[in-house]
Amino acid sequence: MQHAIPVVELGPQGLAMAKAVDSCVHCGLCLAACPTYKTLGEEMDSPRGRIFLMKEALEGSLTTEEVLPYVDRCLGCMACVTACPSGVAYGDLLAPFRAHAEKTRHRPVMEAAARLLVRTTMPYPRRFRSAVRLGKLARVARPLLPPALRPMLDMLPDSLPASAPLPERIDTQGQRRARVALLTGCVQNVLAPEINWATARVLARNGVEVVIPRSQGCCGSLSLHTGEADQARDLARHNLRVFPHDVDAIITNAAGCGSGMHEYPLLFAGQPDEDAAQVFAHKVMDISVFLYQLGIETPPPLPQPVRVAYHDACHLAHAQRITAEPRSLLVTVPNLTLVEIPEGDLCCGSAGTYNLEQPDTARQLGERKAHNILAVEPQVIAAGNIGCIMQIRKHIRGQSQALPILHTITILDRAYAGLPLLSE
C-alpha cells in the first residue's frame, strides 16, 4: 500500500513500520484469522483496518488519539501474520507504533495508575509476589475499587505455589550433549515455578547442562508489547549483560518471552547494543524447538491412556511459527493421544496484559476457547505459555469443568517420572 510515512523522522523503527505498510496490499485475507474482527465484525478492528489506521496516524491525516482505541484492542496475537500471503510483518508495525503513541497519549488517571502498577510489579518477581498477596487482601475492597483496577484483582490466583529456587547450574544426567541458559521469566516464576523445574529436569535428563543466571531479570516482552519501549530496553539490556555467551541456546518456556526476545534486534535498531541484541536473539529458542531438534529419550508409558488437547499459544504458533515441535514431543509419550481443538488458530484472549486492559474481548475469546476445547472432550489440556494456561484454566472453570491444564514440558517431566497427568 502506498504511503507517505515520514520515515526519516521516525528513525530505524520508522523504516520497519513503513515496510510493513508497503507490503500490505489491502486484500483482506487476514481478516478471517483475526480474533477481534471475528468478534467485533468491523474493519477498524481488523488487521487490514489497523494497518490503514496506523498508516494514517503516522502520515498525520488522523491523530494518534483517534486511532488508539482500535490499536489498543489488538491482541498482538499475530494470527494475521500467519494468514498474510504478502508477508506483512505486522509486529514490526505494531510494537513501534505503540511505543511511538505511548510518548504522547493521555490516559485517564485510574488507567494510568493501573498500568503503572502492572509496569512496576509484573516484571519484578519479588514485587509481583507481594502484589499478589496484597491483592488478595484487596479483594475484600473490590466493590470500592475503580473499575480499571478490578480485572487485575480478578486475575490473581488464590494462592501462590511454594517452590524452592532453582540452583545456578544443573548438571546433566549421563553424557553432556549441550549447554543452555534458562530464562526463568518473571510472572511465570511466581505463578508456576514448577514449570521451570520441569524444564530443567527434562533438559538434564536428555543430556543438557542448564545454567540459570541468578541475576537475570524480566526479558522485557511484556513492556515491549504494551508500548513501553524504554522500559523494555532497560530490562533487555540487563539480560544481554548477565546471560553467558558460551551456551548453545537461551531457552525459554514462555511463548510471549520467546517472541519478544526475537524482537530485540528491532528494539535496539540503531542503538549501541544492536549487535549484542542480534547475537542474543539468535540464540533464543523455545524449549519445544530445542528438545525437538536435540531429539529426546522416549519416556515410559503413562499409567493409563490420556487424551490431550494441545492449545497453540499465539506467541508460539503465529509469532514464532512453532506448531509441529510441541506436538511431536507430546506424541513421543506412549499412551498419550493428541486431539486438535477446533478454531485452534484463534487466540484465547490472554495475550500478555490484554485480559487486564480489554476485559470484555478477553472474556469473549476465553469463553469461545473453553467451549472449543470442551467440544473435543480431552482429559488434559497442554499449552506452552503461562498466560494461556491461566486464561484457559479460568474459563474452563467458568464452565464448571475441572480439566487439568499443564505446560507441555510438565507433561514430559511427569511422563519421565512416571507420575499421572490427571491432576494439576
Binding site: M1, D22, L29, A32, E42, E43, M44, L53, E66, V67
Partner: protein, 477 residues
C-alpha cells in the same frame, strides 16, 4: 440537506456503535482491495438484521441518498468503493445460515456469510459449495453474487450463477422481492440470473439459496513446469482437445511462482518460466482412469518437471500457494493492478505472448496467475505508486492488455467485475446502443441510480443529486 436528514433518521434507529460516523471509523472503509481509489462515505451502517437493511434502503430512497452494499471489501475493481455523499451498508455481520437441507442439497444463507463457511457448515453432510474464488476464506456470498465470482474449480462446475437458485433482495426503491426459489427449474424469465453479476446495481441481496454439491471422492493434482508461458497455454488446449474436463487448470508465471514460493513454500519448481496446475476430481475409478490419460497428454506437451501431489497436505500446499498468489505479489512490488481479461481458450498462447511483449515495451513488470481453463487471464501489473506517473503508466498498460483481449474476441472481465476500474473500457467492448440499453434496464430498476451509483456503467449516465429532479449530467470520472 437530505443526506443529513437521512443520517439523523438512522441515528434515531441504530445504536452508535453500529452507525459509524467518526473519522477513524470511516477511514478503513475508504477502499476495497483496489487501493488506488479512495472515498470516505458519510456513514457506515453495520447492519445487524435484514430489517435494518430494508429500512436503510427505504430511507435512502426517500431522501435520494446513494448507498453502496459491502461484504468483505475484497473487490479488485473498486466495486465496494464508497460514495462520498452516500452511505455504506456493511453486511458482514449478517452471516447466518438460515437453513441447510442435506437431502435437497440446499443452503439458505444471509449475504454476509463467508464463502468458505458455507462449505464448512456443509462438510459434515459430505457436501460443499463449489465456487471457490481465491479469496474464499474471507469474501462473502453477497459479494460473490454481485460479481458472479469464479474460482479455480469453476472450470468444471461453473461460476456463482450456476449455484444460486434463489435470491431475496431489497430493490433500490425499498421493495422486497423473492427471485427464484429452491427449485432448479423455474418458469418465466430467470430473474435470479438477472440479479447475479449485477454488481450491486439492482439492490441488496438479503437471502441467497445456494446449491450444494457432494464432495468429490478423489482428487489428483499435477504440477508441470514449462519453459514458456505460451507452451503452458498450449498444454491447456491439448488437455481440453484430449476430451478431458479437469476440475481446475491454472497457470502461474515466473514472478507469480517466486512470490507464492516465498509465501508458502508450496514446492513449485522455481526455475520454470511457467507452471501448470491441473486437478482431476470425481469418483475414484473415474479419476484414476483420467489420470493416466492426463499424464500422457502432459508428458507429450513439452513439460519439464512433472510432479503429482503425494497426499492431501501437499495438495493443500499447492492450492494455498496458488490462492494466495495475488496477495503474495505484494512481496515483489508495493502496488499492482490486477487485470481480469478473458480470451478464447484457443488464443491463450497468443495472448500471453502479447502480454509479454507489451510488458517489455512498457518496461513494466507483469506477473501472470490465472484460470487457464476458462481463458480468464489475471495479469498483475506491478508499479511503485510513489514514483510520479507510475500509476498512470500501469493503467495504460492495463488498458492495452484489455483492448487486446477484446480484439482477440474476449472480454474485459471474467469474474472481478467492472466496478470503477474497468468502467472506462466499457465503450470499447459495447456499442453505444448496448450501453444505452444497459442504462435503461438499470434505470427501470433504479430510476434514481441510488444503488452503487457510478459503478459499472460508464460516463454520461443520468445522475441525480439529493433533492434534485432527474437531469442528465456528464460524468467525466
Amino acid at each position: 440537506m437530505a443526506l443529513e436528514t437521512l443520517i439523523s433518521e438512522l441515528t434515531a434507529r441504530i445504536p452508535p456503535e453500529r452507525l459509524l460516523q467518526q473519522r477513524p471509523q470511516l477511514a478503513p472503509y475508504e477502499s476495497d482491495a483496489l487501493t488506488s481509489l479512495r472515498a470516505r462515505p458519510r456513514a457506515v451502517l453495520l447492519a445487524g438484521t435484514q430489517e435494518e437493511v430494508i429500512d436503510a434502503v427505504r430511507l435512502c430512497h426517500a431522501h435520494r441518498v446513494p448507498f453502496v452494499a459491502r461484504g468483505s471489501g475484497t473487490s479488485l475493481s473498486g466495486g465496494s468503493l464508497p460514495i462520498e455523499d452516500g452511505i455504506v451498508i456493511a453486511l458482514n455481520r449478517l452471516n447466518r445460515i438460515i437453513a441447510l437441507d442435506p437431502r435437497q442439497r440446499l443452503a439458505v444463507v444471509e449475504p454476509g456469510i463467508i464463502n468458505l463457511d458455507v462449505s464448512r457448515a456443509a462438510a459434515p453432510h459430505g457436501l460443499y459449495y463449489a465456487p471457490d474464488p481465491s479469496s474464499q476464506p474471507i469474501c462473502t456470498i453477497g459479494g460473490n453474487v454481485a460479481f458472479n465470482s469464479g474460482g479455480a474449480h469453476c472450470l468444471k462446475y461453473g461460476m456463482t450463477a450456476n449455484h444460486v437458485l434463489g435470491i431475496k433482495a431489497v430493490l433500490p426503491d425499498g421493495e422486497v422481492v423473492q427471485l427464484g426459489g429452491a427449485s432448479l427449474e423455474t418458469s418465466g424469465p430467470d430473474l435470479t440470473g438477472f440479479f447475479v453479476g449485477s454488481e450491486g446495481l439492482f439492490g441488496v441481496a438479503l437471502e441467497i439459496t445456494l446449491r450444494l454439491l457432494p464432495k468429490p471422492e478423489a482428487y489428483r493434482t499435477i504440477l508441470a513446469s514449462y519453459d514458456s508461458l505460451a507452451a503452458a497455454g498450449q498444454a491447456v488446449s491439448d488437455v481440453v482437445a484430449a476430451g478431458l474436463l479437469p476440475g481446475a487448470m491454472e497457470i502461474m508465471d515466473r514472478l507469480a511462482i517466486e512470490a507464492a514460493e516465498a509465501s508458502v513454500n508450496a514446492g513449485y519448481p522455481r526455475d520454470a518460466a511457467a507452471l501448470l496446475i491441473v486437478e482431476l476430481e470425481g469418483e475414484a475409478v473415474e479419476v484414476d482412469a483420467e489420470f493416466a490419460h492426463l499424464r500422457r497428454v502432459i508428458e507429450r506437451s513439452g513439460a519439464g518437471e512433472i510432479r503429482v501431489a503425494a497426499d492431501e497436505a501437499e495438495r493443500a500446499r499447492i492450492w494455498k500457494g496458488r490462492k494466495g498468489a495475488f496477495s503474495a505479489v505484494g512481496r515483489l512490488s508495493p502496488n499492482y493492478i490486477v487485470q481480469d481479461g478473458v480470451v478464447p481458450r484457443s488464443k491463450l498462447g497468443e495472448a500471453l505472448q502479447r502480454i509479454e511483449a507489451l510488458s517489455a515495451a512498457h518496461g513494466t513488470r507483469v506477473a501472470n496467475v490465472f484460470h487457464a481453463g476458462d481463458g480468464n487471464l489475471h495479469p498483475l501489473i506491478l508499479y511503485d505508486g510513489r514514483v510520479p506517473g507510475a500509476l498512470e503508466r500501469a493503467e495504460d498498460l492495463a488498458g492495452e492488455i484489455i483492448h487486446m483481449c477484446i480484439e482477440l474476441g474476449g472480454s474485459i472481465t471474467g469474474e472481478h467485475g467492472v466496478g470503477m476500474e474497468k468502467r472506462r473500457h466499457m465503450p470499447a467492448m459495447f456499442s453505444p446502443d448496448d450501453l444505452a440499453l444497459m442504462s435503461s434496464v438499470r434505470r427501470a430498476v433504479d430510476p434514481l441510480e441510488l444503488a452503487n451509483r457510478g459503478k459499472m456503467l460508464p460516463a454520461g449516465q443520468t445522475q441525480v443529486t439529493a433533492g434534485q429532479h432527474e437531469q442528465a449530467v456528464t460524468d467525466h470520472g
